[in-house]
Symmetry: C2
Subunit: 330 residues, 2 copies
């Protein structure tokens, strides 16, 4: 029985072109369309085969669950995953879970019903049955659980690093912005930071934040300087919150970094465009997305996987919201 | 023959719970699971019915094609569409076309193969056959074509508004950043701006930009002040480019808004957190997403549609990268 490949060969066009003609989607030159239609007739290529080939195409579909597309960190992750998938001829569809378990489960259900062959999930609930019983490979991204396939960065070390660097640059009245409690990476970096501060015997204040939304970040920044006006160093829960803290400090007439130093987390694109540009703990978001996609493809294709859990390094990205070490010691 | 609703009624649970049990997805309490399984057995609810109910669920799936998820304007649009769809019990899956026709067509094909019942597309190619021959309702978002269903804002008026306001605040050596040529809304706002400048007999310079990427925006900002160092007013192609211009101006020691005024376009979340905060022409992104979803639902449900093309107003959002009018005239 003829396959779509046979039709493509006979018509002298690509499989993609045949597919476009069959599905009536996308531009195909009239002459090409006729050639394909002739080949379909001659080879008696049947609707059944059409269905079969569509099914085959479906089976290169990947689902990606993101927790919050309005936080620029996640679109960056998604772009990495997407580019890697595209280069390997997989297609990726996204769902936005809004950090909510029920929305997340709805998306997973949708993806599974649509025959995705693999899933990448940035979830706060990696150890639920949802993921254990799926029957398709799953890679956790920016999250991890047990020994299951995952790509994440070292949040705890990132937190320690932020504390170490802000101390090395002379801050002593430090306020730590604690990220949303249900978001694990946010808690890891918080724990890392206070661990280091305690180690060094430095007292600190904590501001609790319940989301990473731009719209709310300003409120916590205000609270920070109202409650702890003598703060001379802020370890923010991410770059969005750090941006709001910088804005509020400047609004209050404080000099950054002279009066108050600020360190963010993530290194989203806008951070280098702030004035002063934001010192931050960088996560390699785009590369993390790519690594997760590569790992998932290996699992889908049953290839030997050298490393199932990939922890990527965070890096101190020194810009202008912190003082230079030389100035401190000089 | 029993339906999923009958099973739910008999078990005393929601349809969603029955669906979770059937699909083995998501947490269901063991007692509840047993109740559902008993009901399924008693009513002789069959796998065929399962398939049928899955099909029905599928048919509440919507596809959304975004051109660039790393530009914060689009996640904001998506959130609006998503919230409206969610409230109406539709699910939305995303694809990122990267402003490329072939990626866009691949996503549309993927969506159609997965039985989406409607499509929202931010496309640069609204008048291709792709969209004419789909056989499902399509709403264009942030784009429009002919008289087809669409939700967009008035870019041309936005451009005129930017020019009018920057002139009213005293800029006379104006540089206009022209957005990517293949992105229609960018061209509309550019045309609007130069139309107004010409009307007023004001000469202007133009910097061509070929993307809205954060990483490249800095290059154009540098080019702007190298080529036209006496610029005292910048009409940027969007807020990302405006952010880069602000950063570069400050790096060069220019005072904003005293030496140079800057007006952006979009009003993305970060714009109010910059220092000085960015004056911009606001598009109601979230509301545009909601309106597109509402319109699409009306089309899917064959309801009477009062208005098929919805143009939403842009508003001058005055912040601190422009001088106050009173200061000019006072």
């Amino acid at each position: 029985m003829a396959t779509i490949k046979d039709v493509a060969k006979q018509a002298g066009v690509s499989v993609a072109t045949v597919s476009r003609v069959i599905n009536g989607i996308g531009y195909v030159h009239e002459d090409t369309r006729k050639k394909v239609e002739t080949a379909i007739t001659e080879l008696q290529y049947t609707p059944n085969e059409v269905a079969r080939s569509l099914y085959k195409r479906k089976s290169r579909l990947i689902g990606l669950v993101l927790p919050d597309i309005t936080n620029p960190f996640f679109p960056e992750l998604a772009r990495g995953a997407e580019d890697e998938m595209q280069e390997n001829d997989f297609r990726i569809i996204f769902g936005n879970s809004d950090e909510k378990l029920d929305k997340e489960q709805e998306y997973i259900q949708t993806f599974v019903q649509n025959n995705v062959v693999g899933l990448i999930a940035s979830t706060n609930y990696p150890d639920t049955d949802t993921y254990r019983n799926l029957g398709i490979p799953v890679v956790f991204l920016d999250r991890t659980a047990d020994n299951r396939p995952s790509v994440y960065s070292d949040g705890r070390e990132g937190g320690r690093m932020a504390a170490r660097e802000i101390l090395a640059r002379g801050s002593r009245r430090i306020t730590v912005m604690r990220g949303p409690e249900h978001i694990r990476p946010a808690q890891d970096r918080f724990q890392g930071a206070i661990e280091k501060l305690k180690d060094q015997g430095i007292a600190y204040n904590v501001i609790h934040t319940s989301s990473f939304a731009f719209t709310e970040a300003g409120t916590w920044a205000k609270e920070l300087f109202e409650r702890y006006p003598d703060t001379d160093g802020v370890i923010a829960s991410n770059d969005i919150v750090a941006t709001a803290v910088l804005h509020e400090a400047q609004r209050l007439g404080k000099k950054v970094p002279d009066d108050v130093q600020i360190i963010g987390f993530d290194d989203i694109s806008l951070s280098s465009l702030l004035t002063p540009s934001l010192t931050t703990i960088r996560q390699p978001a785009y590369d993390m997305g790519r690594a997760a996609a590569r790992l998932l493809i290996q699992l889908i294709e049953n290839k030997k996987v050298d490393q199932k859990t990939i922890q990527m390094p965070v890096t101190f990205t020194e810009r202008d919201t912190t003082r230079k070490v030389e100035q401190q010691h000089g």
